[in-house]
Structure formats: structure tokens, C-alpha cells
Symmetry: C2
Subunit: 347 residues, 2 copies
DNA sequence: TAGGTAAATGCTCGCAGTGAGTATAAAGTT
DNA sequence: AACTTTATACTCACTGCGAGCATTTACCTA
């Protein structure tokens, strides 16, 4: 379940004959496969991703250290890497010194325009990894950065993010109004309302990806139009990332939020023993919304996701809380164990 | 949402320098990218997938028509195919004559051993597509085959499938008992109980993939050990497919079942107008379980997923039912519209 | 040592959703 | 006219969950 096994099939040695098709793509240009990792940890009630600052070669061979945050990534070694996952682990170890635990494949990107230099076709396979935050080193100047640096509109824990009313809502309104026909305008308005919970809609924490894509389409994130005068915009609508890395981060957060409610993934991010409040804070950090304390306790306890250790926490003040641990047996008992999230939120 | 757009990002032209790594995989063997399609339709209350019977070249260049059912697939044309999805659509059109509508990417497989001939590295990107069943033609001898031909243990509509108690449960029991140590045996038993809802566990319709993988690991599907004397086994535990195609089908069914409950995907499989019972039958066919009629109606109606057309059905006998259509406006109103599935089932 | 503070832990109430069953309506068939 | 078949409507009990309030347990300070 949470394991890292991916036992795989060896097929019989047959090849499908490209059924009398056109010239046949066998002679086409070489394909390069990139592996990207979104590595998530939570510390200080802040969800973070591991980024690097690699050396880059700009179009005209000028070498410098990039100022943008990259996702750890590298090319698949088609001979040396037995599996895609192993290739990813190898690159992450090399660039950040981190040995990954939980990994899951996210998505494969392969549009022709993603190609770096126009020579070879570039495919990218993105992975989501969960880790407990540790010190990082390695050849990529790795650093843990708060994920809401890149997606500031996603953090509703202290209420509706200011950036929405200040920048996003007006920006998207203009974009919708700029549609070439009334029907386009109306479709755009719908899309805006659904994604950001404006109008009569409610905010759905899970629509992370469609929100980012909407902002991209509307030209409200720096990646959409990399011109100098949009630095201001970049600031207010989150930090940019190179290529499509920020979209991959959005996809990861969406996947993670979705998974929270039906698989016990949170525990990959917590130490062996933790208080219920700590658990709650991690869930809140990832889902981006505050939760009702007693109800959260009730939920977690009666779902038997955790068991008491008997140990107590040693807090700076207040009554010490009991330490709990994840009850792995839950996997054998309940069909879809996870932390169900409510629709609305207090706090 | 249900659209087929996948607008994508053009990044700035920078290349990550493979940070002083080893030899660098740029000079490795060429990588070939395959695209596989699991195309699902429902007719006669039976979920079906579109398969082909291509000509194949066996290891020693003997040409014949394969007796196994293949998924429509083909290689990515790294120059001609602008996006992966377009490449897939092209191949499906060629092999089956079908123009696909709803498509979503499933998973990318890339273990080294999947390679056909050991020369070039083979990567496969699998897609799930939904279609209304139509006549198919084209160069691949296409045919719609019931999906439960390949996964017979997944259909619980008329009660617990006989194959489970007859073949699967005993077979998995033996496999678990054959573990090399008590802890391995116990872990295997756990895995069996979770996947198939044996012991105290309940059947979880969504664990399609782990069930197939378990059967594979236990050697209970023909793909696991392609020896002649297992033809019997093959019959009883479902029809085999080449390579990892059956696993891909399992992954598709899992994805589809999961998605039913929070996205209105069923309507991709139904005609414009349909009766509520027809809708229910399709959901049952896919989820593999019977549903309570009145409760299903109530659910669908009060979720406002459908609206009345005013038209009536013309059934061979019994009272004619009203025809409904999908209310696209739900997408604007509810955060996660779908057909919630109950835990247990009558019938 | 008593009182105050901060946090953990426990309890209750009311509403909405859902499982299960029953009753009635509308068509065709015998 | 009685019967069959299917659609449609309604009821009722139970569970889960949102929300708020009450109590307990530690440490700190006067």
C-alpha cells in the first residue's frame, strides 16, 4: 500500500507490427525522458517542497546559476536505471542527498513544445514523494521551500487569502470580460467561478490544478508571459518556477489533498510518535484549511487510525498531550482509511 | 473538466546541466515510447473494452495473427505527434476507426524488462478513454470485449463471483502458506484479505489493481507463468492479455470506479437521453455491484445531476420511464458531482 | 499553597444523508 | 377485468458530522 514495491510484468517476446501505417515513427528523432520529483515535507505547520538551484545554460551558452527554484530532476538512464522509480531516486540522492521513501507517479508530460532545444523530443515523468524533513546537501544547492510560496492562493488556514481579492479575482474578471464573444465570456466566467469558488460556488480545496491552469491561461502567473515588467505580477501571484515545474507542483498538491481523505498518507510526514494536535496541524497545512479540533479527534480515534503510546509530550506550556502512533493494522480493517475533510472550516 | 483540452506550457529555453554526474545518460540506448488505450463502453449492461488482434512477429520472425486480445497501441511519433494524446488518437483511429472523445492519462510504465527485444528501451503511456459503443473497423481486427472476461472476480452484481471461492481463495491460501517464513506468510495473508475482502475484511470495489497484482504475484493468472499446462488456470482466472495489458485494464477499471463517485463521467457512456434505470445499470456495470433503486434515484435527482426531457421511453413491457439528460450546470454548482456508491449492496 | 492560564480531552445536541423497505401509479398482456 | 411489469413516491430509523460547551491536567505565579 504505502510500500515502494512495483513488481512488474515480463511479457513474451512479441512486437506489434506497426500495422501498415505511414512512414512509421521508428526512424523519428530521439526521445529523452526526464524524471521530476516533487518532494513534500511539513515542518512548523508549513508544507514544503525540496528545490534545487542548478547551473543552467541559457540559449546562447552563457553559464550561470539559475535564480529560479527547480524541482530535482534528471534524465532516465535507459541502460542503467532498471525502473523509472530507481532512476528518480538516484537523481534525488545525487542532487539533494536525500533517500526517498514513499513515492508515487504523478503524470507524464510530453507536448512537443516542452522540448528544450528543438532537437530531441523531451518527455517528463513527474513523481510525488513524501518525506520527513531532514537536512539536505548535494550538487544542486537544495533547499526546502514553503509550497504556498508558489501557490499562495491555496492557503486558507487563516481565512481567505488576500491575494485572491487583491489580484486574482480582478485579473480573472478582466480576462473573462476580454473574451471574443459573449459565449466565450460566459464560459470563462464559469471556469473562474468553479475554480476559485467565486459567485455562488464554494471553495473546493482539491481543484489546485485547474486553478493554476486557469491563472496560466489568463496570463496571471509569470510563466505565462516571461516579460520583465511582470515581475510585480510574479510577486503577487506567487513565485515562478522554470518550465512547467510549478504546474507539476500544483498537480502534486492536488493529488496529495485528494489522497488524504482515503489513504493514511499523512503518517509518512510525521515522526513515529506524535500528538493528535500535531497530526491535525499537518492535515491542515496540506489541505490549506483549519479543522474543528474535537471533531478531528473523534474522527481519527474512532477510525482507529492511531493508538496510544502511553508517553506524554513535553510542551512549553499547557497540559501535555498524549503521544500516539499510526496503527498499521488499519490497512487490514477499513476499506479506505484516511482523514475525511469537512466542506467548510472554522478558525 | 470533461473536455479534451490540455493546453500546455512553453518553457524558456534553458537546459539543466547534468550536474557533474557520471557519464550522463544522454548517450544511452534509444528510448521508444508506446501509447496504449483502454477504451471503455457499456452496452447490454456489460462494460466492454476495445481490443485488437494485430499481426505479430514472434521471436524467430514467424508472422501470424495473435490469438490474444491487445489494447490498441502504437509508438509515439516524436516529430509528427504534437501531443501524446494526439498520437494516441491517431493510433486508435487507424487501428479501430474510432474517434475518441473523453481521454485521461493513466500511468506510465517503464521497467527495463518490458523491452520487447532487449535493444531499445520501451516506455508505455497508458490512457483511459470513454466512448459510446459504435461499430469498429480498421486494421487491427477490433472488437468490443466484456471487461469482466479479463477480470471475472470483479463482477459482484449477481452476488459473490464463483471464481473466488472455487479458484482464487484456495490458490491464494496456498501461496500465503508457501511463504518462506512465518512473517512472510502473515504478510501474504494480510495482503490477500485486504485485496479480496476475505476474513473480516469487506470487499472494496476500488482495489482492482492490487487484486490483479496479487494474483500475478501468486502465479494465478496466465501472464505470470506462460506455460502450456496453465491453460486451465487461465480459463478460470480470466482471459490473459499480452505483455502488461491486463494490468493496464485493471488500473483503468480502478480509476474509473474511483472517479464515478466524484466526477460525472458516467454520462460519457450514455446517449443524450436515458432513463434513470439505464443510468443505474451503467453505474452498476462499472462498479460491479447492484444498487438500491429508490435510493439511487433519490441520490441522482437531489444531486441535480440530471433534468427531465419530458419525453418517455418505449419499453417492450411495463410502465414507460421518463427520459432524462445530464445537467451540465452541475459542474458550476457542486464541488464534486458524482454518483456516490454505497458500501454494501442488495440484489 | 491557592489561583490563574493554556492546552488537552470529553460530552451533547441537532441536522442531513443514507440504507432499507413499502405503497402507489401507469402502461401493456391475458 | 385481473394480472404483470416497471416507474415513481414516500416513510422511518440510524449514523455521521458540524458546532459548541464543559471538564481535566499540567505549569506558572503570587
Amino acid at each position: 500500500m504505502l510500500g515502494r514495491s512495483d513488481a512488474w510484468l515480463k511479457g513474451p517476446t512479441v512486437t506489434i507490427v506497426p500495422s501498415k501505417s505511414r512512414e512509421g515513427p521508428a526512424v523519428a528523432s530521439p526521445i529523452e525522458v526526464g524524471l521530476n520529483a516533487v518532494i513534500v515535507a511539513v515542518t512548523d505547520e508549513t508544507p514544503r517542497i525540496l528545490t534545487i538551484r542548478p547551473e543552467v545554460v541559457a540559449a546562447r551558452d552563457a553559464v550561470s546559476v539559475e535564480s529560479l527554484d527547480y524541482l530535482p530532476s534528471g534524465s532516465l538512464d535507459s541502460i542503467g536505471d532498471r525502473t523509472l522509480e530507481l532512476g528518480l531516486r538516484r537523481w534525488v540522492r545525487e542532487q539533494t542527498g536525500l533517500d526517498l521513501g514513499y513515492i508515487e507517479q504523478l503524470y507524464t508530460f510530453g507536448d512537443r513544445d516542452r522540448d528544450a532545444d528543438g532537437q530531441r523530443r523531451l518527455l517528463s515523468i513527474a513523481y510525488l514523494a513524501l518525506a520527513r524533513q531532514v537536512e539536505v546537501f548535494g550538487q544542486g544547492s537544495p533547499a526546502w521551500r514553503p509550497i504556498y510560496t508558489y501557490l499562495p492562493w491555496e492557503d486558507w488556514r487563516t481565512g481567505r487569502p488576500a491575494v485572491i481579492d487583491a489580484v486574482i479575482a480582478p485579473g480573472l474578471g478582466e480576462w473573462a470580460a476580454a473574451g471574443t464573444s459573449p459565449s466565450v465570456q460566459s464560459a470563462r466566467r464559469d471556469r473562474v467561478e468553479i475554480a476559485f469558488g467565486l459567485g455562488a460556488m464554494t471553495w473546493d480545496p482539491n481543484r489546485v490544478l485547474s486553478r493554476y491552469e486557469l491563472l496560466y491561461d489568463a496570463g496571471l502567473v509569470a510563466e505565462a508571459k516571461p516579460s520583465a515588467k511582470d515581475a510585480q505580477l510574479s510577486m503577487s501571484s506567487g513565485s515562478a518556477m522554470p518550465l512547467d515545474h510549478r504546474r507539476i507542483v500544483a498537480a502534486s498538491l492536488e493529488r496529495l489533498r485528494g489522497k488524504l481523505s482515503y489513504r493514511p498518507v499523512v503518517f509518512e510526514l510525521l515522526p513515529e510518535a506524535f500528538t493528535l494536535l500535531a497530526l491535525q496541524r499537518v492535515v491542515e497545512a496540506l489541505s490549506g484549511m483549519g479543522l474543528h479540533k474535537s471533531n478531528f479527534r473523534r474522527l481519527v480515534e474512532q477510525a482507529q487510525l492511531v493508538e496510544r503510546t502511553g508517553e506524554l509530550d513535553a510542551p512549553p506550556r499547557g497540559r501535555p498531550a498524549e503521544l500516539f502512533r499510526f496503527r498499521r493494522e488499519v490497512l487490514r480493517e477499513r476499506p479506505a482509511p484516511g482523514v475525511t475533510l469537512p466542506r467548510r472550516f472554522p478558525r
